[in-house]
Symmetry: C2
């Protein structure tokens, strides 16, 4: 698989190279972002998406601003970075990793030891590299922990894409699936197509085909049927933000999957880096839910040449939903698996 995102040196300076996920699976194309605006646009229109990958892209976005800045001194550069932080922070409201990564970068920017602009640039690029390398390491650990929950021969349902494309590589939910497959467990994956933007049909299916992991795509409204037929052993999804009590915001439709799992007594797991837990929020009620352009619905994720809906009908397009902790069997992090009650178990996994 090509890298989701990569720091490259072009003739005129550095760039953030992104695998353009809006063109998958039909075209494998890359965009080289050299400006803050290009990075922000790429996040907004989902050329790069998935909570951990957005965090990495935003970190590189700040590194890029610094590396291409003409600020005369450290103070001016810090002002420029503060402004850039606002632009990147306004791209997508729900995923916490974006803000977490921006904070890590801004903490480096405000270090008093960095006297010259050049030193600051170097430190920021290194921090973005570290955030990205750490993410890959964490995904592999999530995979190891999660695979222990998967029994041989299981069929696993997933929604949206929490794969290599949503992270620096390997994936969270798909990290669990990859690790179970690599361990020779003989698994099969049910892939929800995930309307409106079809990340399941386009991205998860693409990753699984490349890995040779047996997978069957279904429309979202078929999930209940395959569960009713006894064909699903567990569900694993990613997360955009997890409240202190375990309530989990993730791609719209996740709550529907979790409800169906509950009804069918199928374990429902969330897989995410520990940085996805936002201890500042007591419950999921406080997680902001992004609403996106209704054209995503009307134009079938922009794959229809013209609207499939009649003029004049109202359309609602929330991008996320919140699954209450009571529907979640376990939250799989790089530090281990937290079980209910999550208010206790999530804190217990914190670094000392």
């Amino acid at each position: 698989m090509p890298p989701t995102l990569e720091w490259v040196e072009l003739e005129d300076g550095p760039a953030l190279r992104l695998l353009d996920q809006t063109r998958l699976p039909n075209e494998t194309t890359f965009v080289d972002c050299t400006t803050l605006e290009q990075v922000a646009e790429a996040i907004k229109v989902l050329r790069v998406r998935g909570a951990p990958a957005i965090g990495c892209a935003a970190a590189y976005g700040l590194a890029l601003v610094a590396a291409r800045s003409s600020a005369p001194d450290v103070g001016a550069l810090r002002s420029e970075l503060a402004a850039a932080r606002e632009v990147l922070g306004a791209t997508r409201p729900t995923a916490v990793n974006l803000f977490w990564a921006l904070e890590r970068m801004m903490a480096v920017a405000s270090q008093s030891g960095l006297a010259s602009a050049a030193e600051l640039v170097r430190a920021l690029v290194e921090e973005a590299h570290a955030i990205t390398a750490d993410d890959l390491t964490r995904c592999r650990a999530i995979g190891r922990h999660g695979a222990e929950l998967i029994r041989p021969g299981w069929s696993i349902l997933t929604h949206c894409n929490a794969g290599a494309l949503a992270t620096a590589g390997y994936g969270t939910a798909l990290g669990v699936i990859r690790a179970a497959h690599e361990a020779g467990k003989g698994i099969h994956v049910w892939v929800d197509e995930t309307r409106p933007l079809l990340q399941g049909a386009r991205l998860t299916a693409w990753e699984l085909v490349q890995e040779g992991i047996p997978a069957t795509l279904i429309c979202d409204d078929m999930a209940g049927y395959v569960m009713q037929q006894g064909q699903v052993n567990c569900a694993v999804v990613g997360a955009d933000r997890i409240a202190a009590n375990g309530d989990t915001a993730n791609k719209i439709g996740t709550y529907t999957v979790a409800s169906l799992c509950h009804q069918h007594e199928i374990p429902f797991y969330v897989a995410a880096p520990y940085s996805t837990v936002d201890f500042s929020l007591a419950s999921g009620d406080d997680i902001p839910i992004e609403e996106r352009n209704v054209e995503e619905v009307r134009l079938l994720g922009h794959f229809a040449a013209r609207p499939v809906t009649p003029q004049g009908v109202g359309i609602y397009n929330p991008a996320f939903d919140v699954t209450p902790a009571r529907l979640i069997a376990g939250i799989i992090t790089e530090r281990g698996v937290a079980g209910p009650p999550f208010g206790h178990s999530l804190r217990r996994l914190a670094p000392e």
Copy 2:
């Protein structure tokens, strides 16, 4: 609204004129079927769809075969009709109305009193007209009975299209919605887009806009979210076949909606003509489920110019599912509303 189907006289003889539902909502076009093969094709590719409308179309299909036959005598015509009945009966396996209408027509065909081919043709055309007129009458009665269940200001969720387009007119689930709207109840409708063929986004939304009934379209995976937000007061759907115990086959995704309603303590209603009840089946386990071409999934209901899925991924495309009776609050028929336990209540509504 233009008629869903209509018997017309062309220069060279009669035809079944169908509003081509595969072209809605972008184009209002009609196809004139003059042969058995055209009628069968129209049913298979869903130019005409919806259990009651399929029944009417199949009845007119037999009338058309008779009216355009060159059979020399009644015996030869009856043989031709028997062969045509097989062709039409093989178009779609799940909806019972198709078989019910064909039986009604074949009963007329076998009447001993009809001595000439011309008399038989006339009787068959009249029977097809009667089936269609009866369907409209039944839909209006379903609407009246169902509207009594709807309280002022309710938001009603529906899946697929059980509207005028799925019947001879007025609709079953949408008949209930139309009647509640006409009664001034100030309702609002949540429309599931209904993948893979988008009958909700294309057809139900189109009907509701034409009627001026407030409606909001959502993707199927958003249904759980709007229920969780307390924004759905009840769900009403149509049916393709109802077993004697109340188990109901309907468009794929209906079971997912019913499960979500159950979880949220939202009443889930089925609206269908009484002829949809198949007393020969003890339960829904015996209802055959049609599987359709996976290109419907890959090409987004044929609205995408090219597949949105990678080569090599498996795809599953069941066209229906069965909602167990325990999830159903009531079955609304033209004879009244049956409540649980349905084994008793459905029989009680039978004509004496």
